[in-house]
Symmetry: C2
């Protein structure tokens, strides 16, 4: 799951889990999304969300945190085994970001991704482009979050 | 710019400005995007970004902050004038999120939005659906960030 040659359409992996608490929901909202239903339990209960709800950007940022930590752990393990470490390029953007159900204080979201397409880059020799759908599922196994990510992935060095 | 009837394709407005500093870039990255080029000036300089670079999710979250504060100020002004206040529905998601250029420590991003489509909702009487492109431009007038947002907007109450 590291160099372009290791990636195949349909591959799925779990990225990690994030526990949304009243504390981290309110802390994020104060900084970046100060709407009442993200700041106050009672206002959340009276809203369409039905409880203190995490900002959508908090849900997305938590996914990024887990993606980065998981990739760093994998790179450390590869380096420890003496294997070449694939350094991915920056992402040019995302498509089709969806918040499908509210995430409330007390919910735990498990993030996963599935590879949707893999191809060599026309413009950058030595690189490929993958698309993967990242998603988040709550403790009741309900899909709450999803987006399609594009990333530049290096090709495996010759001879490795 | 509040009820469905007030919105027209092509309307543009500035949402506000956010100053990216080494402090707020690193604080966000520690929590949500702990990659070296978001955490350390020297690592940033050696990266493709060429400097300490803000996480893309920080750039998006700062846009959300300004959108919320601007809407709250507008609602307060409407209420002060005794006008009806439009309460928008939650957003079902975003499309086509793009980070077009790096945002580095010291950069100031001005966010704006342009209405791209307006239509009544088929499924929810009393509501319409708008699409607007939110974008961020740096102090050199370079487009750095863009996404297409969808929102539910209430129709103006009869007689107002």
């Amino acid at each position: 799951m590291r160099f372009l040659e290791d990636l195949q359409v349909g591959q799925r992996r779990e990225i990690g889990t994030y526990a949304f608490t009243a504390e981290n929901i309110v802390a994020f909202a104060k900084q970046f999304d100060p709407q009442p239903f993200h700041l106050d339990e009672e206002a959340g209960r009276r809203s369409l969300f039905g409880g203190l709800a995490a900002s959508g950007w908090h849900i997305a940022s938590a996914c990024m945190r887990l993606l980065v930590l998981e990739r760093q752990q994998e790179a450390a393990a590869e380096a420890a085994r003496g294997e070449p470490v694939a350094v991915w390029g920056p992402s040019p953007g995302f498509r089709d970001l969806r918040w499908l159900k509210p995430v409330l204080a007390g919910d735990t979201v498990t993030y996963a991704n599935v590879v949707e397409s893999v191809r060599p880059s026309d413009s950058r020799p030595g690189w490929g482009i993958i698309q993967a759908r990242n998603s988040g599922t709550n403790q009741r196994d309900e899909l709450v979050f999803s987006f399609l990510a594009t990333a530049f992935v290096p090709r495996r060095p010759a001879g490795e």
